[in-house]
């Protein structure tokens, strides 16, 4: 992955990665909106999870933190937004803000615990934090609805103009807008000096320490940013589906998004996007038929990825894109 660590500075036109990301998301969104108008509820959920995968990419792909508890950030934010909505805050933008803050707080707390260690203790701590949050969500049923889930979330109109309808049109466009902004901001953010330093820490933390970088605070901050993105995803899911269940904090959710990320390719925002998209569309089609066949398929796919393409499906595509870009320059 080291050859992708220093992306070639864009020559000529500035902001090319940001613009191409925005165009791709608008294009995919248009395809979804016009060709699959009956599946918009599913596509809206897909966008929520995609934000979680992007968030996981920030800590796993860019910082090398192995975590199996990332649903905690997503779930806490979803519950926070849901509870705020039930208690009377109905403006969707304000609810997103609630999710953002809750996700950031949870991210900072988890980051402070998890990034102190590397290897096995790190992995186990991430699992334990995730499970602790799940147990609490179940226990505090007066607040979260426990195993029945939190229901009755009816957000108001976006900008006071566009109400949420039963065809999920508003929800879909609203989610797509959030994803667009997040993707553009993140593709800027990961090429910032801070983002590049995180990559440096991932590639060789000893060397990073030798040149005077204090690692721990940076990883915690990155975890906070990642928590913010996951929080937006959680809040969006709560707003658009109207319910928050225990599944949003479950271990299965954490494991699933890790699978999506690695399928697409960790360390690339494009990889996270592609992995989330491919996995969820396949899941939507296959898992409905037989969940055990689906598990077997995912298992085989995962083994295949680890053995044959450890850098994810996006790696060959990125290599091709780089080659084409070089040819264009020459």
């Amino acid at each position: 992955m080291s050859d992708s660590a220093t992306p070639a500075p864009p020559r000529g036109l500035p902001m090319i990665p940001e613009a191409s990301g925005a165009l791709a998301i608008i294009g995919l969104g248009a395809i979804g909106y016009f060709l699959f108008p009956d599946d918009l509820a599913f596509l809206t959920r897909l966008i929520g999870i995609t934000l979680l995968v992007l968030s996981l990419d920030l800590v796993t792909g860019y910082c090398g933190v192995a975590t199996l508890g990332h649903a905690a950030q997503f779930g806490v934010a979803a519950y926070a937004a849901g509870i705020a909505c039930v208690r009377g805050v109905t403006d969707p933008i304000a609810l997103l803000g609630v999710g953002l803050v809750a996700g950031t707080m949870m991210g900072l707390i988890s980051g402070a615990l998890i990034t102190r260690f590397r290897g096995l203790p790190q992995l186990v701590l991430s699992i334990a934090v995730g499970q602790l949050v799940a147990a609490l969500a179940n226990k505090l049923s007066w607040l979260t609805g426990g195993s029945d889930g939190l229901s009755g979330i009816t957000p108001g109109k976006v900008f006071g103009l566009y109400g949420f309808d039963m065809y999920s049109r508003t929800a879909f466009l609203f989610s797509l807008g959030v994803l667009l902004i997040v993707f553009v901001v993140l593709s800027r953010f990961v090429r910032s000096p801070f983002g590049l330093m995180c990559r440096g820490i991932k590639d060789d933390d000893l060397r990073a320490r030798m040149i005077g970088v204090s690692i721990y605070p940076r990883l915690v901050v990155m975890y906070g940013v990642s928590g913010a993105v996951a929080g937006l995803g959680g809040a969006l899911t709560a707003i658009s589906t109207g319910v928050v269940g225990l599944d949003s904090v479950s271990f299965e959710r954490s494991a699933e998004v890790l699978v999506m990320l690695v399928l697409g390719g960790a360390g690339h925002l494009w990889g996270a996007l592609a992995g989330a998209l491919i996995f969820q569309i396949f899941e939507h089609i296959v898992a409905a038929a037989n969940p055990f066949h689906w598990m077997m398929l995912v298992g085989l796919l995962l083994i295949g990825i680890v053995v044959f393409a450890p850098r994810g499906l996006i790696a060959p595509v990125m290599a091709l894109a780089t080659r084409l870009a070089r040819k264009g320059d020459a």
């Binding site: 796993t60 090398g64 192995a66 199996l68 615990l113 102190r116 260690f117 290897g119 096995l120 203790p121 790190q122 992995l123 186990v124 701590l125 699992i127 334990a128 934090v129 499970q131 602790l132 147990a135 609490l136 179940n138 226990k139 271990f251 299965e252 494991a255 890790l258 699978v259 690695v262 960790a266 055990f292 066949h293 689906w294 598990m295 077997m296 398929l297 995912v298 298992g299 085989l300 796919l301 995962l302 083994i303 990825i305 680890v306 053995v307 450890p310």
Partner: protein, 289 residues
Amino acid sequence: MRIVLSIATDALAYGMVLFIISIGLSIMMGLMRVVNLAHGAFAMIGGYLASYAIRDLNAPYGLAILIAVIGAIVVSIPFEALLYRRIYRKSDPLIQVLMTIGITFVIIGVVNYIFGPSLKSIPLPNALSGPLDIGFRMVPTHRVFVIACGLITALLLWLLIEKTEFGIKLRASVDHSDMADALGIRTEIIYAVTFALAIGLGAFGGVVGAEILPIEPFYALRYMVTFLVVVSVGGAGSITGALSASLLLGLADTTGKYLAPEFGEFFFYLTVIIIVFLFPRGLFGRSHA
């Protein structure tokens, strides 16, 4: 007093089940340094095989345990040869986690395709199913049996590792694999035998612990984390560590479930966070070069 005794028996039995299953994983992680999340899946295979042997083949309980252990080892051989060998010792944890999650999913899918997606009971023989009078109190015989199994397993493993030639080679490979290799120890054989031993212990624990951790379609996923946590708290590769971690976590979980059942696994994971934070290598773990 009654409730203290109930908690003590249940916690001890639960802890012993955790120990029997996790000790295999612990030895494997100490020697091969592989974070094997699929360990529970092999325990599940053992449970399914034992259930099949008893209910459909009318095999006696002891024979069923033997079938389960040997069957699970046989099933695990291709996984070891084709997949696990690639990730021994050198890969980063993320790769190991992903591959072993993949293996778990495949095993869950295949097992449920063959045996059907339902809860599998493993009927106990009459000698183990009633209560047992231990002088001042009646306790379920099965609990006593499980505790005895755990103690015997610990003793035999200790003898194997400390007193036999295989144990010496194993410890040499744990301490310095390359040097052991250079001195003529066939480390790949040590790895393969250890892997089989670990899987066999997992399957054994899955069968005798089926009363406490019931064998069901998502067994491997449900307890995937539990076994890993026990090893991490105890310290990879240490029998004493695995035993004390199992008993401690068994106690934390059972006490929590008796006194505050609505909290679920809250106390279990709170204990885990505190211990791992204070002892990142586990209670009895050693630093690895």
